[in-house]
Amino acid sequence: MFSYLANPARFDRFARIAIPVTGFLALVLILPGAWFALFASPPDYQQGETIRIMYVHVPAAWLGLALYLAMGVASFVYFVWRHPVADVAAASIAPIGAVFAALCLASGALWGKPTWGAWWVWDARLTSMLIQLLLFLGYMALRGALEDEKQAAKSAAVLAMAGLVNLPIVKFSVDWWASLHQGASVMRLDGPTIDPSQLLPLLLMATGFTALAGWLVLYRMRSVIIDRRARALQAQREARA
């Protein structure tokens, strides 16, 4: 699939179909998801109504990690095979992943205050997720700081790949260290331990947000490709002058 989409013309054909599809999926999943999450699901027997924060917190957390994984893989594909579309993908993902990672931390703080009595604790899960956000921001800063585009793309790819190490740390932090954060209740080997009435809105929101992130990334990628074409024309013009 990677080599198929590495051709910019083929990527464009793919994106023209995938953009409306992901956009449509995001709408038809998030709207009922939000309705179930806010109105048609019961409060938790321990957390009460604050469980409704989980329906935005978990999708944001999932995307913070999944988008980083996608950015790391795209960076690897670019670094090894120098496919320009892979670099466009990595560059397009960074700010979107940063926003979702930040939303995860913000909604988590808003849940932590009433539940744990603290907005923030230097806990393994919270700290490793903060590092994930800083990796996105560092990637963007590095790309922006280097004048030479090829050099920026290569250096940023190295940073993105190195940052992949943090993903299992975030995921397993709750198992490896005594953490205040609860363990996994959906992505478990023995199946979800969450009640179906709460699993349904969570899955709708998580899949809907995933479709939304796909839409955002693909939409951005086409814009970045258009912008690069414009810049190439500009470079030609300046070379002639």
């Binding site: 409704r52 935005v56 909604s107 808003l110 955002l216 086409r222 814009s223």
Partner: protein, 52 residues
């Protein structure tokens, strides 16, 4: 209705969490749409320049 909005006394945490998320998502959508407009404009300008 007001009882619903009170969210069992946790309205001050639940609604900001949803509000921030909505704001973040709306901001991202606005950003990618503006970025596309800017890129199209730039390409159109360069194409006219190139055709001259």
């Amino acid at each position: 209705m007001s009882e619903y909005l009170a969210m069992g006394g946790h309205a001050a945490f639940i609604w900001p969490a949803w509000g921030l998320t909505a704001l973040g998502v709306a901001g991202l959508i606005a950003f990618v749409l503006a970025e596309r407009r800017a890129a199209r404009k730039r390409l159109a300008r360069e194409e006219t320049e190139a055709g001259r």
